[in-house]
């Protein structure tokens, strides 16, 4: 299962995390994800384990912390309607 930006949503990286923009609602969503997530993670090719491995490789964060926190973060983004999960 991969992550993809929801329809008509854009995202950009900021120093504190990700800024999502919901075009139909003209609303932005601030997500304090620090250096964990990048817009590329939502291009539809990244699975959660692949994102976790990428975070661990770049930040040195222990795997158990990422495995515990990342699903909560992506669930939050799904709940906000800015990303969706795709079964490939």
């Amino acid at each position: 299962m991969t992550c993809r930006l929801a329809e008509q949503v854009q995202v950009r990286k900021e120093s504190w995390g990700l800024l999502f923009y919901n075009q139909p609602r003209h609303k932005v969503c601030f997500v304090r994800s620090g250096d964990w997530l990048y817009p590329r993670h939502f291009d539809g090719t990244w699975t959660l384990p692949a994102i976790a491995a990428d975070i661990a490789g770049r930040t040195g964060t222990p795997a158990e912390i990422i495995e515990r926190s990342l699903p909560k973060l992506t669930d939050h983004l799904t709940g906000k309607g800015v990303i969706c999960h795709e079964v490939r």
Partner: protein, 345 residues
């Protein structure tokens, strides 16, 4: 810290006044538009600006002026910007629509159109936007209505159209449009009409109540300062100038917002430097991000509104340390001293 205070690498949206040329001469025009200014950016320069805004991932550009549809290269520029995936809002007086413009707007997911109308009757609208403008504007709205175009009618609320807000809401609904209301602010030509057209404390109270009763009414920025708390949560709840937004004028000068286009607030020129350099390093922009008007710092609502609209405060008092004179606390006090039974929430 409010979300709007989180540092951004670029604005969420830009107001881009593409020309000062206008076929109307509205008494409240924030940029005092009538004829094109010498040195307005040409098509190539505008495309270069668009390239930079796209690279910075600015999400929205709100085009105004002047009348943007009177700019010769406006529609090609709009197509160019859409090619980069940037969402646009075109603020027009509705009198200069062409078949080409209507076709470009129709079914276009990257376009929103906002037509300015300042009264539900010719008498009221034309007293602000000029003789004969009501019927011309309505004809424009009729050309846009019923198509696949996100359409809103924008009204700057003044003492002369205040009693027509319900009628304007009905009129907008007739055309399948939303009604959006904007605050009247003493910028541009409105400095001369401020005392005559501004709302009284009692009218501000009524307006806040009216807005509170209908969440479907869209509001421009800076309503957070005058509205009840529930209403404030529908949009930006503090001034977004230099934090989430900025304004580019027709000659490429960059300002904190469209209502602060005065020399003392000029952040820089796109003829001399990049937008990113202005956004990151301009002394004016840095100062605005830390703006905390002295008159407001001890106010119990300061954490909620951060001092209201700096443009109103500045152009009324010539002092950025002054409070927005129309903020909820100010008008509540004024209304109370006039014997009002209502209290601010």
């Amino acid at each position: 810290m409010k979300y709007a205070e989180w540092p951004l690498s670029a604005p969420v949206n830009i107001t881009w006044e593409i020309t000062h040329r206008c076929n109307l001469k509205c008494v409240h025009c924030l940029s005092a538009s009538s004829v094109a200014s010498p040195g307005e950016l040409d098509y190539d320069a505008c495309r270069a600006v668009a390239d930079e805004l796209a690279a910075l991932k600015v999400f929205e550009i709100n085009f105004g002026g002047g009348e943007p549809l009177l700019c010769d290269y406006f529609l090609p520029l709009l197509r160019y910007i859409h090619g980069k995936g940037i969402v646009t809002c075109v603020s027009t007086n509705g009198t200069a629509l062409t078949d080409e413009a209507v076709a470009l707007f129709t079914g276009n997911p990257l376009v929103n159109v906002q037509v300015s109308l300042d009264g539900a009757t010719p008498e009221v609208n034309d007293s602000i936007r000029g003789a004969g403008s009501f019927h011309r504007i309505v004809r424009g709205i009729e050309r846009l209505a019923g198509r696949d175009i996100p359409l809103s009618i924008n009204t700057v609320v003044t003492s002369v159209n205040f009693r027509q807000l319900d009628e304007l809401k009905r009129l907008a609904k007739t055309y399948g449009a939303n009604l959006r209301v904007s605050r009247f602010r003493p910028s541009g030509r409105a400095r001369q009409s401020w005392e005559r057209l501004r709302l009284s404390a009692a009218q501000l109270r009524e307006l806040a109540d009216w807005l509170g009763d209908d969440p479907s009414i869209l509001t421009g920025d800076s309503f957070f300062a005058i509205s009840a708390d529930g209403r404030r949560q529908l949009g930006l709840d503090m001034c977004g100038a230099c934090k989430m937004t900025a304004c580019i004028d027709p000659v490429g000068d960059v300002y904190p917002c469209a209502f602060l286009q005065a020399g003392e607030f000029r952040g820089g020129s796109l003829r001399e430097t990049t937008f990113k350099a202005i956004w990151d390093s301009s002394a004016v922009f840095k100062a605005f991000r830390g703006l905390a008007p002295a008159a407001c710092r001890t106010c119990p609502r300061f954490e909620k509104c951060r001092g209201g609209c700096p443009a109103v405060a500045y152009f009324v008092s010539h002092d950025l340390n002054s409070a927005d004179p129309e903020c909820r606390l100010n008008w509540s006090r004024d209304a109370s001293s006039a014997g009002s039974p209502h209290r601010a929430g």
